[in-house]
Amino acid sequence: MKKEEFIQRLKYLLADLPEEETEDAIAYYRDYLEEAGEKEEEVIRGFGSPEKLAAVIRADLRQDPDEGGEFTDSGYTDSRFRESGYQIQPSGSRQEPSSGTEKKNALPVVFFVIALVLLAVFRKPVRAAAKFLIAGPLMITAALLLGGAVLLPTSVIQMFTAFPVGLFFLGVSMMILGLGLAGVLGCTLYYGRFVPWAVGQLGDGLRSLFEGGKSA
């Protein structure tokens, strides 16, 4: 495959990435091939197919580097590509994943077991805590708004009979309403941002646990 053909193919394969990423990668490889000069064909063979090269570029963009492959001295091995034959350097013996990954996966399993035991022992309090986490902020906000809304007209009526007392409660009701409004804001943040985030974290944790268990 000639240089231009290779570059065009790579550009096409990376077309859906952010423009900046595509341009950067293309500029790099164009530069690289210019530099290679006479060795151009050899270098292109070294790259493997444009598809493989694109897969490497993509994988590294998407992934946390720690989750990626490993640069062994016989090339780059990546469990994500192993089955599909995306070895960047097909030579030499393949290495089994090091025991380091197993060690890393043991920790969440331990936490999971501890969590299960705690859950079993403290079932009632855990359930209460879960209920509070789900409904708590909403309930508190609702109570504040409702309390303020009831107290406000009451205090206005009170002002006709005992003005200072009514004025005092008018102030109190305003404060409660203010807290309630702050609660509304807090709730939107809590249910809109924090809860989805927490659920995502929990899901990721569980998934890594199971995937970890499989590979270990």
């Binding site: 950067d24 990668a25 500029a27 790099y28 490889y29 530069d31 690289y32 210019e34 530099e35 290679a36 270098v43 070294g46 790259f47 493997g48 493989k52 090269l53 490497v56 570029i57 994988a59 590294d60 963009l61 580097p65 720690d66 990626g68 490993e70 640069f71 062994t72 001295d73 016989s74 090339g75 780059y76 960047i88 350097q89 290495q95 090091s98």
Partner: protein, 106 residues
């Protein structure tokens, strides 16, 4: 070779190779330099360089060479700090491993 090179070690080797050129160096040459130490394929380094660049450990600039633009990589202050850290870690790590090998009986 039978030993693996992890991401951190590869980062460290690349930073070290780039740091030797105060004016900066370019992808092809970095690859050749790194290949003197470890056996990597032609395609290995781009993601590493890109990541180090995003982490502000490397900076790039383009300069005309031979009628075209050549992209140079240069180590940043942050990259130097990181490299120093890696060097220190490596000295401790490799020292311990070497000691245990020296004391081994074969």
């Amino acid at each position: 070779m039978v030993f693996n090179t992890g991401t951190a070690l590869l980062d460290a080797i690349v930073l070290a190779a780039v740091s030797r050129e105060p004016e900066g160096t370019y992808g092809y040459r970095i690859t050749q330099d790194v290949r003197k130490a470890i056996d990597i394929s032609e395609s290995t380094l781009y993601p590493v360089l890109r990541r180090l660049q995003k982490e502000d450990c490397l900076e790039t600039y383009d300069m005309a060479y031979d009628g075209r633009n050549r992209r140079y990589y240069r180590i940043t202050e942050k990259g130097r700090l990181q490299l120093g850290l890696y060097k220190g870690e490596w000295a401790v790590y490799s020292g311990k491993i070497s000691r245990i090998f020296e004391e081994a009986r074969i």
